[in-house]
């Protein structure tokens, strides 16, 4: 296994489309790193650059300490699993998995041993004589993974491998890929647009947007300390509530945030960091779970009460999402399933200001 290093990697396609803009990050040996972002953010392009399927415009890529810029995909010692699996339709499962080894002129017995070993790990031994079209989506996906692991490459690259599966199977395969990672002790770079996949699978996550890296961090750090408004909104479901407003100082020296209708007092400890924003517009971010149902929680010095009207209720079974309107802005709150108000009801809410985020209105960079 090996580490992967990207240094100032840029990819510009025809007609000056910048798919990856000055990308730099490092994937350590045996690490599971997820590249995540909305479609068109350059995450797949970055993966294809690492694989050698696209040519770099600028920058350097190292795999296991070796500069691979001019090395073709087959000599980079990587394996890749594609979104649509890319199994060879005319070959059986066995031959699909054995193909790479045959091309590398492995002895027949070694090929057989490796294919059966991989098939055993993935539970597809019974399918070895079938053609891909006779397999379900989940089985095809396993074969695609099998094709990657028989080669025992230094680095595994996954390009949205679960997005063609149904929701239930996706959750199951998610766990299996994680298991596989610890079993193989492999270096994995995994691309997805699904933030849940990213959060649950990655040891570290690279969030991308418009070809630019927004933040690289552990899943919990991304959630709790997003670097900017984009990351804050992208990670977490339902998404973070954003309210645009102005910061002002009261006669006791405390700071409060107002959008014209609601007014929220800030904990004193934020004073120093936000002092220079007094009188300026900024964006407040509140996670849905930081809007509390007062029928359960007691108010603390760091909670603030607001009033809002319940517009939509989405019961999820284990929790309930409430879509609220304060008169000036819409909010989503995550409540437990009991003591839920009715649609149309005007209700009191408690906002946990100790967990709130602030972003600069122009740069969208996090201020706290």
């Amino acid at each position: 296994m090996a580490d992967v290093v990207l240094k100032d990697v840029t990819k510009i396609f025809e007609r000056n489309i910048i798919a990856a803009d000055n990308i730099s990050f490092e994937v350590k040996d045996k690490e599971f790193v997820v590249l995540v972002g909305p479609s068109g953010c350059g995450k797949s392009t970055t993966l294809r650059l690492i694989a050698g399927l696209e040519e770099l415009t600028e920058g350097e890529i190292y795999i296991d300490g070796r500069l691979v810029n001019d090395i073709p995909p087959k000599d980079r010692d990587i394996a890749m699993v594609f979104q649509n699996y890319a199994l060879y339709p005319h070959m059986t499962v066995y031959h699909n998995m054995a193909f790479g080894l045959k091309l590398r002129k492995y002895p027949r017995r070694e090929i057989e041993r490796r294919v059966h070993e991989a098939a055993e790990i993935l539970g597809i031994t019974d399918l070895l004589n079938r053609k891909p079209k006779a397999l379900s989506g989940g089985e095809q996906q396993r074969v695609a993974v099998g094709r990657a692991i028989v080669r025992k490459p230094k680095v595994f690259l996954f390009d949205e491998p679960l997005s063609n599966l149904d929701a239930k199977l996706r959750v199951q395969m998610r766990a299996e890929i994680c298991k596989l990672h610890s079993h193989l002790e492999a270096t994995i770079i995994y691309v997805t647009h699904d933030q849940v996949e990213a959060m649950t699978m990655g040891q570290r996550i690279v969030v991308m947007r418009d070809g630019v890296i927004q933040q690289i961090d552990t899943p919990l750090n991304l959630y709790n300390r997003p670097a900017n408004k984009f990351v804050a909104g992208f990670i977490g479901s339902p998404t973070m509530n954003f309210i645009q407003g102005t910061l002002s100082k009261d006669w006791r020296g405390g700071l409060s945030f107002s959008d014209g209708v609601i007014k929220l007092g800030l904990p004193r400890r934020h004073n120093r960091r936000l002092q220079s924003y007094v009188g300026r517009e900024l964006i407040l971010g509140i996670r849905p779970e930081d809007i509390l149902n007062p029928r359960f929680g007691k108010s603390t010095p760091e909670t603030v009460t607001i009033w809002a009207k319940v517009e939509v209720i989405e019961p999820m079974g284990n929790e309930t999402f409430l879509y609220l309107n304060t008169g000036s802005t819409s909010l989503v709150a995550r409540f437990s399933t009991t003591k839920i108000p009715r649609v149309g009801e005007e209700m009191k809410l408690m906002v946990n200001m100790s967990k709130c985020h602030f972003f600069d209105k122009d740069t969208e960079i996090a201020l706290l």
Binding site: L53, K74, I78, A79, A86, Y88, G100, L103, R104, R147
Partner: protein
Amino acid sequence: MGRFTRLPLYIVLVLWSLICLYPLVWMVSTSLKTMPEVTEDPMALIPKIFHWGNYLEAWTKGNFGTYFKNSLIITVAALFLVLWTTSMTAFAVARTDFPGRRSILYALVITLFIPAEATLVPVFHIAKGLHLLNSLAGIIVVSVAGSQVVSIYLIQAYLRTIPRDLDDAAKIDGCNLFQRYWYVILPLAKPVLATVAILTFMGTWNAYMLPLAFTMARPELRTLPVGLVAFQSGFAFSVNWPLLCAGAAISIVPVIALYVFLQRYFVSGIAAAGLKG
């Protein structure tokens, strides 16, 4: 459609099939008659006695054996060369990235508008200069060249429908350019290769002008269509119809066999190329 609304359709189709089949049946029936029987009642569909000997006679005395051999050599060689060269060109045009590949395709397609008859004379002169006249090799070379554009166009259109990820997977699995063509793309192109095989077979097997022009000086190199016409015009006033029909029947057997065998591919290949057959 209900059973009754379909009925007129079936009647039309059956009548049309009979119209199409009649000349074939007549040909086979005449090939089994004697000459006096033909002159007596040319339209009778069932011969009084089946003279299978006509076929032997056509094969030996009518030289159809030689013509058949010539046709077979030319067709098989052309078939193999066309499939090999055009699939490679189509692969390059459709599945690789090099500057100007679109221009090359357009340039090729434009030549489709020039009828083969218009180029026969220049081709004849070029072949003469290359000492390719009066040889089977010459006919093969010109047939192969003539089949290039249509075949390349059909194959490349089909190859474009194969997902790009397969090339990427093959690259990562360790394929070089030729291995990608040979192990991954070519096996997937079977339907369109079958279409091209049928079109090339029919075109070469039935070709008349080209082999006629190329075998003027050496009748022993004639192909079946040229031989058939020569046989007919050889006896201007008393054409031996049974032998002529036996020769014609011999000439269509391989075509029918091939069509029946590859019909499934023929339809799917044409449809895939976006040309509703």
